[in-house]
Amino acid sequence: MEGYQFSLTGATMVALPSGALWWAAQNLLCVSDLHLGKSERMARRGGAMLPPYETTDTILRLEADLRATGATTVVCLGDSFDDLEAERGLPENEKLWLTRLQAGRSWIWVEGNHDPGPVEIAGSHLAELPLPPVVFRHEAKTGVSGEISGHYHPKARLNLRGSSYVRPAFLIDIDRVIMPAYGTYTGGLHAHTAPLCDLMRPDAIAVITGSKALAIPMPRDK
């Protein structure tokens, strides 16, 4: 697979330009923070009426990644739905589409803070997924090794002679990976801000997503 290849506690993985993580040995594709149903939730709460196309767009991209990798296991690393009501409120055609993608694959919904309970759509529902030598969970814990998490929506910036280029990014060090958000309607937290700087080791790298996956030293304030 075209992407940035690295090793986490002995497991070889590839950070894909799309923001998904590919683990060839397990035939496993991991995506984080899909936030499906975000526009519906905003509208329901009396917020802005956003264009209702983000679920379609997110699933389309996921479908492309599944086709390209031929993954047989899919891990959705939490905050897959913008809230549990958004999951129940997904239109029939989108539910069916997800069901079609699930056919012949083992599908794991890891809990996130936005979707902390069981979901109605098929697939296993877990608080976290240990798959030695790594563990998949939504939010990073300190002092652990071999952890793959999401939650923070990290993004990183490259300065190009006066203009800057900001993209969602993987943060990677020898202990952990923090994945970028995969959902279409997601913002990001700069890699150089406090929670991320504190979690990652000083020699961590950021892998910028986009048309190519590019590694840079993780941006920090100091």
């Binding site: 509208a43 009426m49 300065n159 190009l160 913002g187 700069h190």
Partner: protein
Amino acid sequence: MEISSKFDHWLTSRNWTLHPHQRELLSYAARPAQLLIAPTGAGKTLSGFLPTLLELEDGTHTGLHTLYVSPLKALAADIKRNLQTPIDEMDLPIRVEDRTGDTSNTQKKRQRAEPPHILLTTPESLALLISYPDAPKIFSGLKRIVIDEIHALAESKRGDQLMLALSRLQSLCPDLRRVGLSATVDDPDAIAKTMAAHPDPCPILFADPGPAPDIQMLIGETPPPWAGAGAAYSVPMVLEQIEKHKTTLIFHNTRAQAEIFFHALWLENEARLPIAIHHGSLDREQRQKVETAMTQGALRAVVCTGSLDLGIDWGDVDLVIQIGAPKNIKRLVQRIGRANHQYNAPSKAMIVPANRFEIIECQAALDAVLAGELDGETLPVGQLDVLCQHILLLSCAGPIDPIALFNEVRRAGAYSGLSRAEFDDCLDFCATGGYALRRYEQWHRLKDMGDGTYTLRDPRTASRIRMNAGTIQDTDTLKVRMQRRRGGAPLGEVEEAFAATLTPGDTFLIGGQVVRFEGLRELVVEVSKRANKEPKIAVFGGTKFATSTQLSERILHKFETGDFRGLPDYTTDWLELQKTMSVLPQRQTLLIETFPRHDRHHLCVFGFAGRNAQQTLGLLLTKRMEEEGLAPLGFVSTDYATLIWGLDPVRDPATLLDHQKLEGGFENWLAGNAVMKRSFRAVATIAGLIERNLPGQRKSGRQATFSSDILYDTLLKYDPDHLLMRIAQIEAMRGLVDFGRIRNMLDRVEGKIVHKALPHLSPFSAPLFLEAGRIPVKGQAIERLVANEAAQLMAEAGLKIDA
């Protein structure tokens, strides 16, 4: 209406007499709409308030009588002071209050319960007032509206918002009378049509324009440089003029230029003359300090930008200096009017050309001022994003009846041509989002009540809608503060995008001092004074104005007729040399020069279409050259020409300029362009699709908010004909892209292209090689650039790439 004896006595006691236009305007007080055009210093404001003061003199009116709207908060405060003097001295039973973004909440609440007789406000505060359910009560009894500096409002979305609000007020108070006060403008009829309740007539009263200004170009022994816009070379001349005059205003076209010039002035200000700086990016306290010092006569000069264009009374200014070509004749005239605030005495002004070409432009502008000719853009019709915001604000006040509202909106001049379909699109957007895909039916923002009216589904939405009101676009800015002086006054603000490019140790100019960037702390840019390096330019705000069509025409006319009067010898020599080596550009033809230089081939198009359009032309032509395999490498644009360089010579420029091919590529190009995204962001914010960044909201959960570019990309992919996409495109075409002027230029020359294939560069193309702002042609280049940068960073950090 006649002046009362009490008033007459007061005027006599002050030794004042009314100007003829003030007396005349009083006699028209009963008209439903009236426009007064008068130069600065002609007592416009008193003219506007005379009928009000007289009508309120007997103390019988209860509640609000007159609403005064001005574009500046500061102006409202200024007027309040000026009105209080006659009210106190004549002991009139009149209460005057202002209501702006700076008014306290308690004060605002009280105003709604007990409105004053005269309320001074801004379009934004008025839009909020009509969004309250008790609006009919607040405005009951309202008789007059005075719109000050209406010329400044009429051309913008703020004007649209104001006129829509006035339509609502007219429905609440049918016998409301409107008076507009305007500086000299090119098209008074257009303003009159905008301000009246359609189809009421709006007669125009012209005050005596006063004597012609005393205006000249300031050029000395040293010629200006060949390129650039800063005019640093003129600092000694300008200092000399400041010494000779009491108070000088020095206008610049951009904030960054004002900062740089101010810095340069102080480096040479050996006499320590008190000189200050004033522009919109400076902190409010700092600005107020300068304003106070100015009114006290404590300053000899103020370096400023458009923030001082509008009429606060500044006392004893006896000289105005414009640095750089004014780009626009109307703005020049209005700035000149800031000198000698006495009606009947000529204003004194000087223009400093920033480079060789600007000498010609300045001379053309001088000719225009003396000929009394002005320029202006045609007023756009009412903007639909503003209408969306208006509908939402009204829905906060109570149920909306679409038929009644449609009719009310069409009574605003700018919206008199609004079609029912356009109105319905806006209403649908407000109610459901207006998407081709119908989704979440049960969560619509406005609910159809079944009797034809619409109402807010969730009343709590009202406060969000109000918080999002207004049409002024603040780009995201960050405060700048001295390090270790938290709680100390901030120095000012810089754009977030500019702050993002800073690395610790970088230096930039703000408030006239060079500061060193130390770091970003909780969204505050922390700086120190440890700066001895040359400043990196401060790129905050500051639009680059394009030379107006009329001014460009005047320049071309000079070339055609060979009228070189007023120009210094070194300029006429330069023009003669161009004539010999190539040819001078003309109005009916388009001059294109091609020539080799070093190992590159160059092409120079003298379109005289203004900076923005020339920039767009550069993008479109290089795109066409890529299609033709001519390997363009980059281009640079000024107000009059675009220079393109590449690997191959262009043998037949005419094919590149093919009308159809240019237009064909245009729409696709525009859709992916940053300018479109910027327009979309502005439109979506005004229309209420995205919420402004509110204070306090920014710190928490940054990852929960996402950029408007994502919404734009999504709509482009799934719903490209959405209302907001259509509005954004119209705006981008008119604004920074300025495609209209390219089209006009191509129409004007009708394919008559004069191609000069030269052995080397020409006198006219030479300065373009010195211009800043060269734009590389990207294509695949950006990806290579990003990859190289990434690889270099990894190598520097000693990290291995194992992909």
